[in-house]
Symmetry: C2
Subunit: 108 residues, 2 copies
DNA sequence: GCCATTCATCAATGAATCTTGATGTGGATG
DNA sequence: CATCCACATCAAGATTCATTGATGAATGGC
């Protein structure tokens, strides 16, 4: 039986929460082509600067993005490790063929 | 450039939201060994029956679980298709190597 | 130093979500 | 039919989250 430690469960829940917003998914979409500065993301994503900053922070705190300041500008990019981690996680959610397709255990 | 249609973005956000709760992840964990009835899940997961029902509904509406009634009992199980879909989705979030590791575009 | 630009943060509002406890529903049993 | 059991649903309160608008911090140009 799979048994994620509570700490991992918490982390997983946080990750998924970070991904549970359309704007944040759009940000990730944009970043999958490479690094972008906040100013360009603002143009592309039709949000306010303040709101975008909030979403970027959410993704960064979840470990999905990293940022890099260069002069006045801040560039965000995807953290490849995080995405791999997510893939592993999803994999672990998969039904193991082992168990009977239909429960043999009766409840009465 | 990846470009998820808005409808897919919405669906993806809903999926991730369904996975963004520790109790729901525990439910999935339990179900990855096979079908379980609600009564057993209640025992395993230290929640109230009512709350568990709420979370099961959330996962079911997201398309992650299916249910099957048998007499007085209801059995829930993971929907394999949904998990595969999720894997594909995660895959699509991956940074494509194509873009420059560091943005070439200058902002001034 | 002074001002403009880029981005982050804060406070306040409203919306969505979680949680609880009570009630409802459908199946089984007698 | 009456009752019990497994589960779902509902209403109400608590909490978390998204969004807005204003302010703050850091950088660079003058």
């Amino acid at each position: 039986m799979l048994f994620l430690m509570p700490k991992d469960l918490t982390r997983a829940a946080r990750w998924f929460h970070a991904l549970s917003d359309e704007t944040r998914l759009q940000i990730i979409e944009r970043l999958s082509d490479g690094e972008q500065c906040v100013c360009d993301l603002t143009d592309m994503l039709a949000t306010t600067q303040s709101l975008l900053s909030f979403h970027l922070k959410t993704l960064k705190e979840a470990g999905i993005l990293t940022d890099r300041r260069e002069g006045r500008w801040v560039y965000y990019s995807l953290s490849p490790e995080a995405i791999e981690e997510l893939e592993r996680l999803i994999g672990s959610l998969k039904p193991r063929g082992r168990g009977p397709r239909v429960s043999l255990k009766r409840c009465d």
